[in-house]
């Protein structure tokens, strides 16, 4: 039995406000303000759009990763899948623009296959996801190396690279609008719909929260988990296609991105043991992380220090997540 306090309405409003303002949004605003202080050009439309363009692949990756996290697992294979996507695209097209469509179709096919392998290993063979996807990481890296002969070869046709570099000019309000920002927006909307707007999404939450209860309620826990891994893999391929347009073909494009994606999710309020997370949160989590990298860059810190900082951030984000969980706030 509960007794409503006289000031319940007030309490409720305060409660729902703090509940609905996401940690990722707050952290992003703080960090971006710091970036803008250091380098005012970032708050100009062009500077901001450029920032978004470069942060977009991480946002896409996190929007996929959060499905796996909410379902109670990890997907460590996404970084290597990005590398495979970039190397694979250059091998398939060999620079021929007419093959871009075929290459993209093939990459998504590979993505589905990798997601299925992860999912089946976790759902049916009961391998803990951290181990299973670490195994996939190594295998996918191996495949990428074999396919490309161990060194980056070939180059990507311009129409393939458009996803990462093309910018619409003279757009009202913002001036210029990079294609990759549009891709991020589309992916975010799709992911939001999938996680928050469908029955499937609710099943993902239930499975991550208590797989046994979900099973006894009739949910296909295995299929739900597998779907989450496939979604994560598809987002990795998408991020790979975008990153292919950023730099050239290299063997380390995807390196470390799996941890960045997980860190972004945690900053955005996702819970590592499953059952909690939101798309708005993780997209802003990704932007926060990217703003932080930008800031460290602007401060002139060397790469090694940035890596260290990233590790520390991951740990503190997870620790604060665990604390929030314990205190129920």
């Amino acid at each position: 039995m509960t007794i409503a306090l006289p000031d319940t309405a007030l309490h409720r409003r305060a409660g729902s406000l703090t509940r609905h303002i996401n940690s990722g949004v707050v952290i992003f605003l703080v960090l971006f303000a710091a970036v803008a202080l250091k380098q005012p050009s970032y708050i100009e439309p062009a500077g901001f759009m450029n920032f978004l363009r470069r942060a977009a692949p991480l946002g896409v990756l996190a929007a996929g990763q959060v499905f796996v996290l909410v379902s109670g697992g990890f997907d460590l294979s996404v970084g290597s899948l990005i590398t495979l996507s970039v190397l694979g695209a250059s091998m398939i097209t060999g620079g021929d623009p007419s093959l871009t469509g075929a290459a993209i179709a093939a990459l998504y096919g590979i993505g589905v296959a990798v997601g299925l392998i992860n999912g089946i290993a976790v759902a049916f063979l009961k391998v803990p996801s951290i181990i299973a996807t670490l195994g996939t990481l190594l295998s996918v890296n191996g495949v990428a190396m074999m396919w490309s002969g161990g060194s980056p070869r070939g180059y990507l046709p311009d129409n393939f690279r458009a996803f990462g570099r093309f910018v619409f000019r003279d757009v009202p309000l913002v001036g210029q609008l990079p294609l990759s920002v549009i891709v991020l927006a589309i992916v975010a909307v799709l992911a939001w719909w999938g996680l928050h707007g469908t029955v499937f999404g609710r099943r993902v939450f239930a499975v991550g929260d208590n797989p046994r209860a979900a099973e006894l309620a009739g949910i296909r826990v295995d299929l739900t988990r597998i779907s989450a891994f496939v979604i994560s893999a598809l987002s990795a391929v998408t991020a790979g296609i975008m990153l292919g347009g950023f730099g050239g073909v290299s063997t380390d494009v995807g390196q470390g991105l799996e941890l960045q994606a997980i860190a972004a999710c945690v900053i955005g309020g996702a819970q590592l043991m499953g059952g909690r997370g939101s798309i708005t949160g993780v997209v802003f989590g990704a932007l926060s992380l990217f703003a932080l990298f930008t800031l460290l860059n602007l401060l002139g810190l060397p790469q090694a220090l940035r890596d260290t900082a990233q590790g520390l951030i991951l740990i503190s984000a997870v620790a604060s997540g665990a604390y929030r969980q314990r205190t129920g706030g």
């Binding site: 509960t2 319940t8 059952g275």
Partner: protein
């Protein structure tokens, strides 16, 4: 100062609020050495909150705690334990990957020269378990134990620190009758040793049998404290729920529908030779001691741990579920006995928990609030079952046990299965809610559903069922018609009275 009559424990004017909920307001009570002081109240009355404040888990917003007359305040559970308070919490909290012995001594490990003394630890644990007349192996992994065994380990853990004040928050909820009566014997012995015992329970007969005084809480306030002799069950219930309960067990139906479920020679690794019929309109109770295979029977019929031998028919159709999903699809529902581990998605909202089975069978890409999964319909269902919560979109872990159970019932009512299996439907649930759940069960039967009710609570199984099937060591050893006494059922359950050679022998033969 420490005369015999001075209280071992006083809680004075305790208040505590959670966001949107005033859980306790100005609650006071005291417990003397050698006294068993019962705390009663409906689900959500604030009993566990009061106990958690005593255990150093929550800080009170106001009020004072005195131990042997001295003001005390606990910032951490360890400080409460140092003050001589042992607590058995309602929520089991063993570390699943540690051994039973490690769990029992947790936080007070015996050491020799700074190193953990394993021999002493295991001997100590064994001694405490022996006092409880429990045969649990001290080296077993805690996570492998049954709910009842885990409860025993929790009790042993609380006793390990030799507390002068022992708080027991629904210690018998997960125990069967004989285990519960052994526990009550132990409480009597502790009372003789001048331990002050604070005892929280929803089982009225226990309160009458064991306590010296009762304090009743309602809606976070104290209603009264009185001597137990002056509190016959009727008065106690009236204080708790604020009105008379007209009927505790609903009248039985007369409906004799057709056969709904038929099990022939069913068996698997834990149970064998199961022959069972459930008719439409009938409530069949399943009784038996802990470990008799009651829960295994429920799971086999539902399809979660299927039969490997024998056949089943549902509605005259062959029925051989290989998974819970199969069972649900064919028209069976199951409320698991271990609510926390198997029933609830604790971090999700009440509504999401209530919609879980509907969503398991809805189209994957449908709107989560489509049709019957919409907030309006869900809220209606929750309100119809009188679920009490500050907000229906709060995570369900914030609810009291009875309210959680009602949400799971709502989940199944939404699916409306032909056969509904309730396992321990009222474990940890207050009298008023119990009566409500019995009424729901009977109402379902009257509407032509078949009910199988697994229960370790003898009065319940005898009071609600049309027939009681009794299990012993994985087999059905007998059956009692409605009106059988608790003694009849118990005799079969402990392996006397029925002839094992001829299963389903009539009661008392």
């Amino acid at each position: 100062m420490t005369s015999v009559l001075s209280p071992a424990l006083e809680m004075i004017g305790i208040s505590k609020s959670f966001p949107g909920v005033r859980a306790l307001e100005d609650v006071s009570f005291e417990c003397r050495p050698g006294e068993v002081h019962a705390i009663c109240g409906e689900n959500g009355a604030g009993k566990s909150t009061l106990m958690k404040i005593l255990g150093g888990i929550y800080r009170p917003d106001g009020g004072e705690i005195r131990i042997k007359g001295q003001p005390a305040s606990f910032a951490h559970p360890v400080e409460a334990r140092r003050a001589g308070i042992g607590i058995i919490h309602q929520e089991l909290s063993l570390l699943p990957d540690r051994s039973v012995a490690e769990n029992i001594v947790l936080g007070a490990e015996p050491t020799r020269r700074g190193v953990l003394d394993r021999t002493a630890m295991r001997a100590g644990a064994r001694e405490i378990l022996a006092r409880l007349q429990s045969s649990i192996e001290v080296d077993a992994r805690a996570g492998d134990l049954s709910l009842a065994e885990q409860q025993m380990v929790e009790i042993a853990k609380a006793l390990a620190s030799k507390p002068s004040i022992l708080v027991m928050d629904e210690p018998t909820a997960a125990l069967d009758d004989s285990e519960a009566s052994r526990l009550l014997d132990l409480v009597r012995r502790l009372r003789r040793d001048s331990v002050a015992v604070v005892y929280v329970s929803h089982r009225m007969p226990e309160i009458a049998a064991i306590s010296d005084r009762v304090t009743v809480l309602k809606d976070g306030r104290k209603v009264l404290t009185d001597r137990t002799e002056a509190m016959p069950t009727g008065r106690l219930v009236r204080c708790m729920v604020g009105r008379d309960l007209e009927e505790f067990f609903p009248p039985r139906g007369a409906a004799d529908g057709g056969v709904l479920l038929q099990v022939n020679e069913g068996g698997n690794a834990t149970i064998s030779d199961i022959n069972l019929t459930v008719r439409r309109g009938e409530v069949v109770g399943v009784a038996g001691l802990e470990g008799a295979g009651k829960s295994a029977l429920a799971r086999a019929i539902f399809g979660d741990r299927p039969f490997t031998r024998g056949t089943m028919q549902l509605n005259g159709q062959p029925f051989a579920p290989r998974s819970s999903r199969d069972g649900i699809r064919a028209g069976v529902g199951f409320l698991p006995d271990d609510r926390k581990r198997e029933g609830l998605a604790l971090g999700q909202s009440l509504r999401d928990n209530a919609a879980l089975t509907l969503r398991a069978f809805a189209r994957a890409l449908a709107l989560p609030s489509a049709g019957a999964m919409g907030n309006l319909t869900l809220d209606q269902r929750l309100r119809a079952l009188d679920v009490r919560a500050a907000r229906f979109d709060d995570p369900i872990r914030l609810l009291s046990g009875g309210n959680q159970q009602k949400v799971i019932i709502a989940r199944w009512l939404a699916r409306d299965p032909q056969l509904l299996i309730f396992a321990e439907p009222t474990r940890g649930i207050d009298v008023a809610a119990k009566a409500a759940i019995y009424a729901i069960i009977r109402d379902l039967a009257n509407r032509g559903r078949g009910i199988l009710m697994i229960s370790s609570d003898l009065p319940e199984v005898v009071g609600v069922s049309d027939r009681v099937v009794v299990m012993h060591e994985g087999r059905i050893v007998g059956e009692c018609p409605s009106g059988a006494s608790e003694e009849d059922v118990m005799a079969l359950a402990v392996g006397h009275g029925g002839s094992v050679a001829e299963p389903a022998s009539a009661c008392g033969s």
